[in-house]
Subunit: 221 residues, 2 copies
DNA sequence: CTTAAAAGTGAGTGTTTAATCACTTACTTT
DNA sequence: AAAGTAAGTGATTAAACACTCACTTTTAAG
């Protein structure tokens, strides 16, 4: 209800800086492209700027001219993805689905399909984001609260509506959020990071939709 | 059924080496203890051997006298944990529980409680293991297959038995395994790595047991 | 007590690394 | 044509790093 104006310093400031320099040169694009690939594969700490420069066909100085520091190059990759993952697309989707009188099952399927598509299209960036959030404590502490807040705000609305419609059991919102978060983050991390899948089959989506809806115990209670 | 003798080179060789030097001096213990803390907090790549030495009150040379390389020090921490997590305790537990005629729910609760206790007691090592498996591709490719195999072999037996008893729906084993793996790895990673929890409340365990058994959809099918 | 092996030391080495800086080039604006 | 600006370069630098080695101290068995 209360729209806590969480002014996330790091994310907002980075977003501003990135807005300024909206015109990317060919070399800049190449640098980002190579950096994403190498960071995703070997991790930020195990990738040398000299390596990025060589593979991008660029002088090492060029990287620092544009991004100042190596850390800043990393943030230039992570921030736009994080800013995009929740707000933009998901809100449209949620709006669309809530107008129609769709069931929780239909919503869940559409939502998962949509988010999985987004991650598939940005697979390497997703890997970079998750790996670095997990790996660097400071980064985790700055970014994770934003993610949790952004996700909670959106999902609570949805859960409330489906509860009223009688599609979801009367469990505390907190428990449902925690479980949904656990299952979905587990699903994304397992498939896209541990198993390194390029895409998710429709069958696999059906499986997890079915699972979230019903679990697999024989007798419910 | 077929006991594939997966001879995991890295793990087995390391285990042998560790067996040899079974008597740890005070300084060795201190080195391992500090290394675990620092690797868990900042990651292997961001921790200098000089830092470990200083914090352990030891000369840098001492580290290399005992472990040869920094990489080897990391493995000396990871391998025993991995070797222990599945085989030893879990098998005893599974054996115990299968003799009694316990329900799937009881088994699930006991199993989760047991594994959560193990991870809580070795929280920092768990963080090191997961972080490094995720971060370094080569390590992932060498260790992950072993973990998947070890977990599958054990869980398939359990699933079969409870299916016969009618406690689990007649879904293909593969689907059940995938879901269980996703939910449980998600649960462990979310709580112990992302949220950095020191322990899990009994309520939280109840929640996930309930969730795995029933899901939270109102009408099953 | 003697002695040999094991544990421990810390200054030193060569390499890798992020970052700098004086400079050139190419393009745009007056 | 002159002036201004941003992109790009690559040689250079200082710090950090994993690792070595000649050496000392500790341990324990005969």
């Amino acid at each position: 209800m209360v729209n806590k104006m969480v002014n996330n310093n790091l994310l907002d400031e980075m977003a501003k800086i990135l807005k300024k320099s909206n015109k990317q040169t060919v070399k800049q694009k190449k640098i980002i492209e190579v950096a994403i690939t190498l960071f995703a594969e070997k991790g930020y700490s195990n990738t040398a700027t000299s390596e990025i420069a060589k593979m991008a066909g660029v002088a090492e100085g060029t990287i620092f001219k544009h991004y100042g520091t190596k850390e800043n190059l990393l943030l230039s990759i992570m921030v736009p993805f994080i800013k995009d993952f929740f707000p933009t697309m998901a809100d449209e989707l949620i709006g669309e689905l809530m107008n129609d009188k769709c069931t929780f099952e239909e919503f869940l399927r559409a939502f998962l399909t949509n988010r999985i598509a987004f991650i598939s299209e940005n697979r390497e960036i997703f890997q970079v984001v998750i790996k670095e959030i997990i790996y660097k404590e400071e980064l985790k502490n700055e970014i994770l609260p934003y993610i949790l807040e952004a996700a909670s705000v959106r999902l609570v609305k949805v859960i409330e509506i489906f509860k009223q419609r009688g599609d979801i059991k009367d469990i505390p919102n907190d428990s449902i959020l925690k479980m949904l978060g656990t299952v979905m983050s587990g699903f994304f991390i397992s498939n896209f990071i541990l198993l390194n899948k390029k895409s998710i089959s429709e069958d696999a989506i059906e499986d997890i939709v079915f699972f979230i809806l019903n679990g697999f115990g024989q007798s419910p209670q």
